[in-house]
């Protein structure tokens, strides 16, 4: 679809389009800033309608974020999980080989992260100013931040566009802290913050 979405922005926001037309709109949005703005405004209009209706409290608290990692039935096998830890230790990565037992325990606790690092081509970049690394997908779709010698939780930050966004907190287990972002987008820089100070900085290449 090459033509602008025009009135279909309103129809899309109202849920009126059939699946084919909706896909056409979504395809066009990928390459048209003007239509993204048009749709964003139409969605704001629909949201204003929704917000103008009586607001109700949900009956129960919502569950936590679902895992973004694809389900892997085979990973439930305990034997394979241990095998994976061994495999990590044998990976030809100098960084991984230097990690201590606590590192392995932390990675075992986060089997999705370990699976990702094992099974997906990735890059590893060290943080300047901290004993920390980030392993990330070559397309920027996932990140594992590992910090050694951490004695307190560290915030992982994403500096971008003149501002800084908090991504999450790496909490120490033993002397290793980790944060896994299983499904993200390309981020050129990451930073570590502790006690209100930036203590590490990584420049990522793609």
């Amino acid at each position: 679809m090459t033509e602008h979405i025009g009135e279909n922005a309103a129809l899309y926001a109202l849920g009126l389009l059939d699946a084919g037309d909706a896909r056409d709109v979504e395809g066009h949005l990928l390459r048209c800033d003007a239509c993204r703005r048009l749709l964003a405004q139409a969605e704001a209009d629909v949201t204003a309608l929704s917000a103008a209706q009586p607001q109700l409290d949900p009956p129960t608290k919502f569950r936590s974020a679902p895992s973004s990692a694809p389900a892997r039935a085979w990973w439930n096998s305990r034997t394979l999980a241990y095998a994976a830890v061994l495999a990590v230790a044998l990976l030809p990565s100098g960084f991984l080989l230097r990690q201590n037992v606590a590192m392995h325990e932390e990675m075992l606790a986060n089997s999705a992260a370990i699976s990702r690092v094992m099974s997906t081509p990735h890059r590893t970049v060290a943080f300047a100013g901290a004993d920390a690394h980030v392993m990330y997908g070559k397309d920027g779709s996932w990140y594992v931040v590992v910090i050694r010698g951490a004695v307190a939780p560290l915030h992982v930050l994403w500096p971008h566009d003149g501002t800084t966004t908090m991504l999450g907190t790496a909490v120490p287990r033993g002397d290793v802290a980790m944060l896994y972002l299983p499904q993200s987008h390309r981020m050129e820089q990451l930073a570590l913050e502790s006690g209100g100070r930036v203590v590490g900085h990584a420049q990522l290449a793609f």
Partner: protein
């Protein structure tokens, strides 16, 4: 840490800032999912409830819609606009898909039902009689209000609306788009 590196991080926004939440949600930062629900959950649940009119269905609908958004790569980027609006429309569209499925199941009973209701007699509109939405709807010309009500409160497609109102499809699309724009202005979503 070198001074130059420190200078790379000029502004750490509060996580209470909607823009910070939207950035974090786009990056799929773990905290952003729960925070988005904490901040917008009431609106999202209410949106689903007003379509489905059932607590359990509404909650399932919100959970499924949010889970889908969270799992799909690049489902939300900042270029798509405000996170609040994006999520609201996602939830509402999920609710509409469900209610249309329900309607299809009961199509026969609906056909047997009495004469078609007019938009002013709809149950959903009764619910909002006292609020500003009612006033904003009434301020619209009837030719825009009718198709918009059929779309918003009856979840009819623009094709169905064109058939019901005996108007060309293009005319109905234009009237819905114009009506929505006016309603947005009246409700404060446009500057």
């Amino acid at each position: 840490m070198s001074a130059s590196a420190v200078e790379l991080f000029p502004t750490m926004r509060s996580i209470s800032d909607d823009g910070a939440l939207a950035d974090a949600f786009a990056a799929k930062a773990p905290w952003a999912f729960d925070e988005a629900y904490a901040r917008f959950g009431r609106l999202l649940y209410s949106t689903a409830y007003h379509v489905l009119e059932n607590q359990e269905d509404a909650q399932d609908c919100v959970q499924d819609a949010l889970a889908r958004v969270w799992r799909l790569p690049d489902s939300y980027t900042r270029a798509r606009g405000a996170l609040r609006s994006f999520l609201t429309v996602c939830v509402r569209n999920e609710a509409i898909t469900r209610i249309r499925s329900r309607i299809r199941r009961h199509r026969m009973e609906e056909r047997i039902a009495a004469e078609p209701q007019t938009p002013g007699e709809l149950g959903a509109v009764d619910v909002i009689e006292r609020d500003k939405l009612q006033a904003a709807l009434r301020a619209l010309p009837e030719e825009q209000r009718k198709p918009l009500e059929l779309a918003y409160f009856h979840y009819k497609t623009h094709v169905e609306i064109a058939e019901e109102l005996h108007e060309p499809l293009g005319t109905i699309k234009s009237r819905i788009a114009l009506g929505l724009r006016k309603l947005g202005t009246a409700l404060g979503s446009r500057a």
